[in-house]
């Protein structure tokens, strides 16, 4: 489903991580932990293909098989939440999901407002909706609990449970509470 062989990434002379091997099957959740700057976010970006590895190979599903949400992932400030979902549904060849997804993520009331006026928590909910609406095979979440209130954290928990029924999850986190989802753990920077 998602695998990596002898994966390494360096910036200049400094290796952020090296010799990483991953083989993730449906129903499995990998929790990537480590201090700030240990390369958790970089590893997720390498796994989804946003950053090239310095060595090693990644075997992943195609674009429609991957969902990704991260704090540093930007949204289009002039588009509304509904327009984001419609646009990305069209990109992925899916129709008629926006109102259900907005309601599911508690964004129905603000669905028509431009995302530029959203709080960090509301953006995080929309990013989760964008990462999951196409039912990906692998869901990758970078610091999923950050910026979310209790309801938002319940949404994350539900999304992870749903995802584990059909595929795999990778979480990069510093929050010990997120470890409860893990079937496998990877600690970077030690």
């Amino acid at each position: 489903m998602l695998s990596a062989d002898r994966l390494g990434r360096r910036f200049g002379d400094r290796w952020v991580f090296r010799e990483i091997g991953i083989d993730l099957q449906p129903g499995q959740c990998l929790c990537v932990q480590g201090p700030n700057g240990s390369g958790k976010s970089t590893l997720l970006k390498v796994l989804i293909g946003l950053v090239a590895p310095s060595e090693g190979k990644v075997f992943r599903p195609d674009r429609n098989g991957i969902g990704y949400a991260a704090l540093d992932l930007s949204l289009y400030p002039q588009l509304s939440a509904a327009e984001h979902l419609n646009l990305f549904a069209r990109f992925r060849g899916i129709h008629g999901t926006d109102s259900d997804m907005l309601a599911k993520h508690g964004l129905s009331d603000v669905g028509a407002k431009p995302v530029g006026s959203f709080s960090t928590g509301m953006r995080a909910r929309l990013k989760l909706a964008l990462a999951t609406f196409h039912s990906p095979q692998v869901l990758l979440l970078d610091e999923p609990s950050a910026a979310l209130d209790e309801t938002g954290q319940t949404l994350i928990g539900d999304a992870i449970h749903d995802q584990l029924q059909r595929g795999a999850v990778v979480i990069a986190t510093n929050d010990p509470a997120d470890r409860k989802y893990a079937t496998h753990e990877l600690v970077l920077g030690v």
């Binding site: 994966l7 970006k45 390498v46 989804i48 293909g49 946003l50 950053v51 090239a52 590895p53 090693g56 190979k57 990644v58 674009r63 991957i66 990704y68 540093d72 992932l73 930007s74 949204l75 289009y76 400030p77 002039q78 588009l79 990305f88 990109f91 992925r92 964008l130």
Partner: protein, 206 residues
């Protein structure tokens, strides 16, 4: 597309440039070669100030990653090229009419003039799109953009000037049509290789 910044910038630049040119040549009709040069240079700068934004805005607002997660690089390039082509066609339609009206230059071959403007705009859209795609994500993108733009855009300017000069009454008609054919070929080449260049430049797969 929601932000019409590029279109407004392009129109404002075109308007100011044409007004300045018509004032500087007040009561004097410019020679065909000078008029062709002025129109081509205005078209070039109008494209350069507006069209790269469709690529660079993704970089500036950090949405490039979100886009790359959902669509193939070649499809993203094709969409942006199409948007740039429409924007360039709107600009050239307004600019060419303004230019002819305000400078008083005589168009002796309207078909050659129309096709010269059309293919200059399309090839500029292709050229600027390719440059935008190549430099997106680069830390020194203005330097890189300039280096990439010169060899891509200069031939278009020369071909555009060649075609428009004939349309304004200087040079041989066959030479003018050769320039239009050259512009068409250049536009077609850029539109064909652009998606592959974008895919290669944005490739991060292992």
């Amino acid at each position: 597309m929601r932000s019409r910044h590029g279109l407004f910038t392009s129109f404002l630049f075109s308007l100011l440039a044409v007004v300045a040119m018509s004032l500087s040549s007040f009561a004097t009709k410019p020679a065909p070669s000078i008029a062709a040069g002025m129109l081509c240079v205005t078209l070039l700068f109008s494209a350069v100030v507006a069209l790269p934004r469709s690529f660079l805005v993704e970089d500036e607002q950090g949405t490039f990653d979100l886009l790359r997660l959902a669509v193939e690089p070649s499809a993203a390039f094709a969409g942006k090229l199409l948007y740039n082509a429409v924007q360039a066609l709107l600009s050239v339609a307004v600019l060419s009419v303004l230019f002819v009206t305000m400078t008083g230059v005589t168009v002796l071959d309207p078909l050659l003039f129309a096709l010269g403007c059309l293919f200059t705009a399309l090839s500029l859209a292709g050229g600027v799109s390719v440059c935008g795609a190549l430099v997106m994500g680069a830390s020194n993108r203005w330097l890189l953009g300039t280096a990439a733009a010169l060899p891509i855009l200069l031939p278009q300017v020369f071909l555009g000037m060649g075609a428009l000069k004939v349309a304004f009454g200087q040079g041989t008609v066959s030479g003018g049509w050769m320039c239009v054919t050259g512009l068409f070929g250049w536009a077609l080449t850029l539109a064909s290789i652009g998606p592959f260049l974008a895919a290669a430049a944005w490739k991060t797969d292992s």
